[in-house]
Symmetry: C2
Subunit: 634 residues, 2 copies
Amino acid sequence: MKIQKQIDVKAYKPSGFIGDYRRLVKETVIPYQYSILKDELPDTEKSHVYANFVNAGRALRGEDTADGFYGMVFQDSDAAKWIEAAAYALAAEKDDLLEKKVDDFIDVIAGAQDEDGYLDTYFTIKDREKRWTNLLEAHELYCAGHFFEAGCAYYEATGKRKLLDVCEKLADHIYKHFITEGNGGYPGHPEAELALMKMYRLTGKKKYLELAGHFINTRGVDADFYRKEKERRNWQVWGNDASDGAYQQSDRPVREQKDATGHAVRAVYLYTGMADYASEKSDAELYKACRTLWDSITKRRMYVTGGIGSTVHGEAFSVDYDLPSDSAYAETCASCGLMFFASRMLENEVKSEYADVMENAFYNTVLAGMQLDGKRFFYVNPLEVNPGISGVAAVYRHDLPERPKWYGCACCPPNVARVIESFGKYAYGENADTLFCHLFAAGEVKSLCGLNLVCETGYPYELGVKYRVSGKGKFAVRIPGWSRNNIIKRNGESFKPEIKDGYAYFEIDGADEIDLSFDDEPYYVFANPKIPRLTGQACLKRGPLVYCFEGADNDGYVSDLVLAKDGKTVYESINIEKYSTYAIDVEAGKQFSKGDPYSIIFPEIKPYKARAIPYYCWGNRGINQMRVWLPVMK
Amino acid sequence: MKIQKQIDVKAYKPSGFIGDYRRLVKETVIPYQYSILKDELPDTEKSHVYANFVNAGRALRGEDTADGFYGMVFQDSDAAKWIEAAAYALAAEKDDLLEKKVDDFIDVIAGAQDEDGYLDTYFTIKDREKRWTNLLEAHELYCAGHFFEAGCAYYEATGKRKLLDVCEKLADHIYKHFITEGNGGYPGHPEAELALMKMYRLTGKKKYLELAGHFINTRGVDADFYRKEKERRNWQVWGNDASDGAYQQSDRPVREQKDATGHAVRAVYLYTGMADYASEKSDAELYKACRTLWDSITKRRMYVTGGIGSTVHGEAFSVDYDLPSDSAYAETCASCGLMFFASRMLENEVKSEYADVMENAFYNTVLAGMQLDGKRFFYVNPLEVNPGISGVAAVYRHDLPERPKWYGCACCPPNVARVIESFGKYAYGENADTLFCHLFAAGEVKSLCGLNLVCETGYPYELGVKYRVSGKGKFAVRIPGWSRNNIIKRNGESFKPEIKDGYAYFEIDGADEIDLSFDDEPYYVFANPKIPRLTGQACLKRGPLVYCFEGADNDGYVSDLVLAKDGKTVYESINIEKYSTYAIDVEAGKQFSKGDPYSIIFPEIKPYKARAIPYYCWGNRGINQMRVWLPVMK
């Protein structure tokens, strides 16, 4: 039994910071991505996503497939993720034109579905005989999972069933292949697990729960599956090492896995499905395994920004405490996935540490993945950028100092879009008698549990939150782990609520006003010396926001800045291009060294007022140095 | 005209620190390497070097080639480098048994030489038709160069001509191919250039000087040579990118090259030949190019240990200021090559900065390349090792925390051996009227310029040097750049010699005792903030020795150490296994942080007496953390 679950997508009407971001996604990102999918933008790498569906439909009708298939083997998922984001956007705000575009797209997708329910344009166009022969690399189940998520979202948002029907037919086809016919195997790129849980919840069909459980519970039981599969097939997509079980999260049954390993996005998508299934089945053993993996990530393999998967080699988790700032991978999608995982852990236990991590991942790495104008995107989120080295030298070639426009592998931008458009699902949860606020998000919430609320806050900049709650039931609000001094008021009076696992609980009967004020002083974060790269350094934060230093604010360079551990700070409103945000000015030092490159003279450190900006705002003013961690030397 | 040149190998009889090292090489490394070359050691990767020569001889005689060729395409060079080291050992100390082994080896090598002078077992055994068709990868000129160096050394040491005759025949063959027949091209792996300069000097044959000049002056003039060569041939060794001119140091004529780029060993071998040729021909333009490349290396691309070539990607120079401690490559051979380059720069101008770099590379990276017992070797010399990360995670997989026994690619061990055995050539130089001491090396020197000396010193630990000089002429001694306060005495009296470009000059007529005392206080080195990885950190040195901190001396960990910038130091005699050295104990701090992994509490820093040992002694006590640079936090 779930302790609590995400609210429905239509239950939250955003305003404030999230409302603004949602509008940016709605007005800029979604139309832009649509043009990409339809190849309507000049000077942009060809996507061909829409055309692939059209051509797959032709193939099914025995017609000429025109220009055939183009793109990554998982190109279909771009369409699904776009539809999911558009669905959430439509849930918040009616838009007939957008809805028409989605409906048309769904028609084309439906036309690309085989009569047996199979749906994947790569195989339908290129070679139907190869279906299901390369689970390791070919990502059919990954694409299916994204269709499921899109189908559920679009139904939730509009009540329209067409895509959901496609999804059910596809899910039934998969069930037949893996369960009825007993063909072995599990997803090379997990995603189907968490998506089948959504299908189950929406349709109530037990077979989807069973199928999710099948993929989770058989994974790694035959740890040799992918190697044997590779021997059976005579084709490949990338030539992945099928023997590297740890990389595929399949070297042992998931219940026995102790470390978060391998491709970071795949890992957290898998763990999300596991945590969701564990809560649904009250599977304590599986939840315990999730908890072990959670600790592996959050205590030993996570950046201070909530970035995970520190190495470019396989876009993967590295070993414990290997968290380099400058050669970081920290894919945007992986932090989206970490939010998914955290949100499902909250289904098992309402503990603030899950929401703390979810918040950190969102406000720092996920938001940093997108330019402030919504037009460019980072896949890789370094915590330090040195122009001339970053993006140039081999070790840092993936660490770009500026967001590029669009990638051939377009996984991250639609992931950011769908997370922002469905922020309410991460921010608010409910069960039969309680409404939970995991994240602070201005707007209105109508829950199913008997409580409604209006939340007013300038979060993440103003660190006070006001709730007007009405109805009858329990109201639970997270007290963030970073806040040491909290002022809690109920109807204007100081109040001491019950605090459990980092949440404050209030009994509401009628209408109440709850005011929370959290620490708003900037603070420094220090790393355990087990992280070799971070010894002697500090990172500036305020509330949930990680701050960073950019050359643009600091006379061109930040590699010469040193922090004073007790340096005073000033919080100040600034604009970055047209975007309003808040800087923190800190009393620091700037080093001057004549060493060329080394000197036996201690560098002269001149007092310097260094300016920090929110990490998610970096890289919006051209190429310059950026650092999250600075040495503490004074 | 050379300003001065290296002394003859027999002119220096080492004692003291260098004498001890020389004996270790003579008694341990040379016999060990000989057993490897002859495949007489069990449990060691097959070398097959000796067998390749035997089999090549068979091929030439039309006999069955038995087990054919085995090893790297440049496997022959292992033999040449071993002979060169053995030759220097024989110059210092007669050893009939060793001399017999070398003579026998030379007989086998001579037997593998084709009648047209060609010598390379790879092609002679495998495919004579492919000779000279792949200069980029096949390293025939590289191997030839090592034969030349060995032939010159063995003649210098023993007066025996057989190998030198083989070399002349080979050099004449190369001259015919490239000059007489006008076949284009230049060495893929430079080495022939510097070696032909040795051949020229020893034999006086102008054609060798001409050939060296040809390779230097045509390099990069046709920047497309390797690409066109690749188009012509239908085979490859590694499949190198023939279009990457910067990597091959051939994107433009050498006189126009501004940055040290590409494979670091190849680069410094090339620059060595260039500097040697420049001094021989009084070619000011070429020397200026060398000077530009020297600055590129030493001011922007060199570790504090004298390591160069910071990236594993191509064993190459990275971009300016990219000098990571933990993912360093810093190949031992590259620092040997930097010594060669520095030594040839001193032929053009006697300036202490050249010898400072040469000394730094030797006492730190070159010596660190070898276990203290002479039995194991590092190719890669990181400045920081974190067990569990180093040697494990992909970015640091090459940074081993312990020296391995032997490699299939056995370039570094014999390079260290030949540098140590010929140390006098780097330490002492001469011209018609002056004897130069570039490095401080106890022992006796008999020069050709009219001066002899006995040097007494406990260098690099005792930083006083006593010279008893006799004869008539000028005597020049380098004042090291790291020493700020120097006491100079002549015959017991304080003396103010002429100082020029960092050298003290003395007129000697009869017999004099010169005493030099250098700074013996430990000191910290700081990096220019342009090196992003080193801001806020310091490195401890004493005299020419870089010190490092190892877990073995510091309660298991060093990533938790922070230095106090004015922390007192104590210099102390210690043993590392059976090896006597000196530690430096520093007043420092050890951080205790409960952050898991991050905390908002400033880490508790407890006063701690941290122990540092010379960097060249690290890794001799099992796997543990090691750091050269530590944060300065107190």
